[in-house]
Amino acid sequence: MAPHKKPAAIRKPKNFGASVAFVWSYLRRKKGMLFLAAVMVIVNIGASLAGTAMLQPIIDNFLQPVEQIPVAARLSGLLKGVITLLCIYLAGVCASYLQTRLMLSATQRSINDLRRELFDHLQDLSVRYYDTHTHGEMMSRFSNDVDTLNDALANSLTSLFSSVITLSGILFLMLRQSWVLTLLTLAMTPVMFLAAGNLMKRSSKYFVAQQANLGKVNGYVEEIITGQKVVKVFCHEQDAVAEFDEYNEALRQTATTALTYSGLMMPVMMNISTINYALVAMIGGLLAIFGYLSVGGLVVFLQLTRQFSRPITEASSQYNAVITAIAGAERIYEVMLEPAEEPDPPHAATLVQEGHDFFWQRYGEDGKPSERVPVAGDVRFEEVSFGYVPEKQILKQISLYAKPGQKIAFVGSTGAGKTTIINLLTRFYDIDQGRITVDGIDIRDIRKDSLRDAMSVVLQDTHLFTGTVRENIRYGRLSATDEEVEQAARLASAHSFITRLPHGYDTVIEGDGANLSQGQRQLLNIARAAVADAPILILDEATSSVDTRTERHIEHGLDRLMKGRTTFVIAHRLSTVRNSKAIMVMEHGQIIERGTHHDLLDQRGRYYQLYTGAVELD
């Protein structure tokens, strides 16, 4: 392989429309709530504008009346005005609360749906998808992308909507007061938009640079700290600090610029609005002197001017959030568009259990149950060819036959195709050519779930789940009793170390299993497979992390586990496979030697070389 550098990509949504439609498909389900929320937004804005507008009659009629009115009448007029205002304000407050609450409910429930459907879809995706995407990548769909979308839905949606409504409401009221002053205010709008746009563009340019530098610093820190022990062993600490300094300095510079620009946004917008305010006060004052405007009208207009810039600033500051959220939505959408595992054919065979016996239940063309085949564990590969990508064949014309109860082992270097055989048998991947049969049935004619139910798999990577030891073993068969769980643990020679754990079988293990050794985790994996009690057993490097002495101790248990089951074993260590019925030596996707341990040694071929350590495995 030829290693090379990968450039990091920064993405904006490619298909804006489709991504928005995707988000809408979730929001649509909460149409009722959204509609009510919209009504509340309108009520809220209406109340706030009406409140401002109400000041004019109060001022002009009762506080500074043009004609003389008795004081008592003015006071009672004032009281009436204040009470009306109180009602308007209360309505506004209630509407504002209801609006946020409804929006919150709608968006949180939409996000809940989205998260659930994304997770469900991930469960249905093929192993191929998982093998070609990093976990980090998938994880960031779940956390970052869903989170930004969540924020955007909760904040930006409401604020964009209410900005538009507020602006139109303000303009309407302004026009009612004075068209001259309205024109003046409108003339200031392009200035505002230009200033906002300009600042936004600059700050987002430096923000991109800042994020890139931040990424570099964080990447460097992560790498060095992960290898911190090596750094210490080579006394490399000073060099590390010096190198870190360069990255950190670059970040400091871009971050300062980026934040200066983003910090300018608020004062600039606010003061442009203040300039507008000053102009309105000045010109409005003149208009009032010449009688074109009442004092109350001017006061109201001034208050409206104060409110005018806010929706513009708010809407423009949401722009970046919305773009990021849509880009996030698009990435989620892409995952949702990935095709799930191929569905089973309509009349695929299923696995049924009667007492301790398993059967393959086959179905006729009409969907009625036809014959029942006992599950014996007869596995055949007939001229199987396969490649993960069409250009590169991993398995070439593999044929093999495992009789019920036999132990078949595979040895060979990494990339020879051993694990691929397991991937095909479990139908994590489907073959390109040839046929694999179990008990005479093509595995493509068996429901995937049933096929996998018939197999217990112990994989090389010792993955466990956060939960108790007992829960982890029981994962193999959810209906297993506590006794069965313990029995399985004994079989895997795990019982003794489990009982020595602080809470025995109820000890909680973390998913990454920091509190267990690699070898102990492997033993739990074996116990989990043992409790599943399936007719076919697959061990992929199941004991690679156990030292040779311990491996000898558990061999006995493994032998009992394999008894009566067709077993496929992949092992790095030849001592593990020695007692197999047949050993397949694989090289470049082909079986180059096969036979028992002694046959193969006598052949003095590849196996002999491996056994004597003359060639390298891996």
């Binding site: 030829a2 290693p3 009762f62 506080l63 006071l75 004032l78 204040v82 304000y89 407050v93 209630c94 504002s96 946020t100 609450r101 919150l104 809940n112 997770f119 991930l122 994880m139 990447g219 820190v221 790498e223 992960t226 911190q228 022990k229 062993v233 080579f234 006394c235 590390a240 870190f244 950190n248 971050a255 300062t256 934040l259 620009y261 608020m266 606010m270 003061n271 442009i272 203040t274 300039i275 305010y277 000053a278 006060a281 004052g285 009032a288 002197i289 001034l302 104060r306 994590f428 789940f465 994962y475 193999g476 998913g511 001592s575 020695r578 002694h598 350590g613 003359a614 390298e616 495995l617």
Partner: protein
């Protein structure tokens, strides 16, 4: 908090300037309503056009000043905030570089990395927000209050009611919301954790046909998260309505009481409007402060995690009389006992004594958990012994300066790492002054030259972080080459050829013989074939030396050694 002061100190000037600009900005803004009131009140009443124009011009001028000071403030608060974060990040990084192995173990590398990345970034953002709002809001509050009192002390009594009511309400909201938010955060972490686990375990899930089970499990935690979020947010969204309510009621009070004053002739309408504006400013700044409080307390978790690192005492440093000495390569353990955790009752190593002469090859063998790695890590003083002494050339390792001791010991750790960079860069960690010839010689000795020259870019081939683009055996050989380039008097190899085949491994051992004939070599291995040629083999079991000797001697005397031997050899035909 006090720990952080030194990081902000270099930016004292910036902070001061930022505060001054903000002060100027606030003054400009706070004068606007009163000027407006003058235009609308005095100006219109007296029909004084020049007065209106003059006051208007003053307003415009103030706005321009405010833009200017806004710029100054933005620049200096960004400089200070970012600078603080950069200094802090550097302080942390430098601190971690001083950490001992035990310090690193205590935190775990993953957690250290998060603290230096996510937590510092969060602190940076809070610092910048804080610098802006924590200065602005109190100034606004103060000046607003002064203006309101000067204008009309009677009406200002409204604030005596409004401020406490708002404060109590906001306080109640924050206090109720806080635990709810913590609960929400826990559920977010839990959900992410289980999704992560599910992704890693996809093959297990699929092979045991547990998709439905997992979906059900997810549904429960997903709904739990939504419930928790709604519970927390439903409290927080009370913020805005409460503020609106208090503001509106204050406005109404001003209109009602102020209106009576207007009718009585003691106040004009314009002044009343200006007064309403001041009340807005005052209440708004309180609101901002309360939001800041929430933001900062969220950052406090990060702050705690960061200061934990800064506060950690480095438990392994040069002693006062430590010196630099040239090492010949004699190593001696005298009654050494050791445990990682002092509070743990049982020692990992117990009563270890042995001696290695310069140039000797000492192999250590034993099952997992026998204490092999712990033993060799005591030689370069990666950990300190619990009891007894480790001597290098007859001198206690604690009497060497760490740099001089570790500089002369080559270590290939079991969990080894290559760093992103070229192969050459990586090898030169062993000796930054090494010439190309020396680099190639070391690679040849470690049997790495052949595959490296097979790459199109040879020694300039880019190694990805952690060496993920190399096979296990290739990585191990490069790590050995890196240590050999050091030409150390003492070399330690901790299970560092496990992924290399026996033939290549024996070639590597051969080159040790020729290239490092005077180097004392410690070798940990699983395979008997790797250790059988050693001058001396130490068999460890459960932290104790159970046997020492050559291969042949041990085959005679040691039951444990024989057991290991037979577990790897074909005894009789047992197929």
């Amino acid at each position: 908090m006090k720990l952080l002061v030194p990081y902000l100190k270099p930016y004292r000037k910036s902070v001061t300037i930022a505060i001054l600009f903000m002060l100027f900005d606030v003054i400009c803004e706070i004068l606007q309503p009163i000027l407006m009131a003058n235009i609308v009140g005095k100006g219109i009443e007296s029909q004084n056009i020049p007065y209106i124009l003059g006051t208007g011009a003053a307003m415009l001028l103030l706005a321009c000043f405010a833009i200017f000071s806004g710029f100054g403030n933005a620049k200096h608060s960004a400089t200070a905030g970012v600078g603080f974060a950069a200094n802090l990040r550097k302080g942390l990084f430098t601190k971690v570089q001083q950490f001992s192995f035990k310090n690193i173990d205590d935190f775990s590398t993953a957690s250290l990395a998060t603290r230096l990345t996510n937590d510092v970034t969060l602190l940076q953002n809070s610092a910048i927000m804080g610098l802006r709002i924590l200065i602005r809001a109190p100034l606004m509050f103060l000046f607003g209050l002064v203006m309101a009192l000067r204008m009309n002390p009677e009406l200002a009594t409204i604030l005596l009611v409004a401020i406490p009511v708002l404060l109590v309400a906001l306080g109640l909201i924050i206090r109720t919301a806080f635990p709810l938010f913590n609960q929400m955060q826990e559920r977010i972490d839990g959900l992410n954790g289980s999704v992560q686990e599910n992704l890693t375990n996809v093959r297990v899930v699929k092979s045991f046909v547990r998709q439905q089970f997992e979906k059900q499990k997810f549904r429960t935690s997903n709904d739990g998260l939504t419930d928790a979020s709604l519970r927390a947010m439903n409290v927080v969204i009370l913020n805005m309505p409460v503020l609106m309510l208090v503001m509106n009621l204050s406005t109404l009070s001003v209109v009602w009481f102020g209106g009576q004053q207007v009718i009585g002739g003691a106040l004009d309408v314009a002044q009343m409007t200006a007064f309403i504006n001041y009340i807005f400013h005052i209440l708004m700044s309180l609101m901002m402060l309360s939001m800041m409080f929430v933001l900062l307390s969220r950052a406090s978790a990060s702050l705690k995690r960061v200061t934990e690192v800064l506060r950690t005492e480095v438990d392994l440093t040069d002693s006062i009389h430590a010196g630099e000495y040239l090492v010949k390569g004699e190593v001696k353990f005298e009654g050494v006992s050791f445990k990682y955790d002092p509070s743990h009752p049982k020692n990992i190593l117990e009563d270890i004594s042995f001696e290695a002469k310069p140039g000797e090859v000492v192999a250590i063998i034993g099952g997992t958990g026998a204490g092999k790695s712990s033993l060799i890590q005591l030689i370069p003083r990666l950990y300190d012994v619990t009891g007894g002494r480790v001597l290098v050339d007859g001198r206690d390792v604690r009497d060497y300066s760490l740099d001089s001791l570790r500089g002369q010991i080559g270590v290939v750790l079991q969990k080894n790492t290559l760093f992103s960079g070229t192969i050459r860069d990586n090898l030169k960690w062993g000796n930054s002054q090494a010439t190309d010839e020396e680099v190639i010689a070391a690679a040849k000795a470690a049997q790495a030259h052949e595959f490296v020259s097979g790459f199109p870019d040879g020694y300039d081939t880019w190694v990805e972080q952690g060496g993920v683009n190399l096979s296990g055996g290739q990585k191990q050989r490069l790590c050995i080459a890196r240590a050999m380039l050091k030409k150390p008097p003492i070399l330690i190899l901790d299970d560092s050829t496990s992924a290399v085949d026996t033939a290549t491994e024996s070639k590597i051992r051969e080159s040790f013989h020729t290239m490092l004939a005077h180097t004392t070599t410690f070798l940990i291995a699983q395979r008997i074939s790797s250790v059988r040629d050693a001058d001396r083999i130490i068999v460890l079991d459960d932290g104790r030396i159970v046997a020492t000797g050559t291969h042949d001697e041990l085959m005679q005397t040691s039951e444990e050694y024989q057991e290991i031997y037979y577990s790897q050899q074909e005894k009789e035909a047992d197929a």
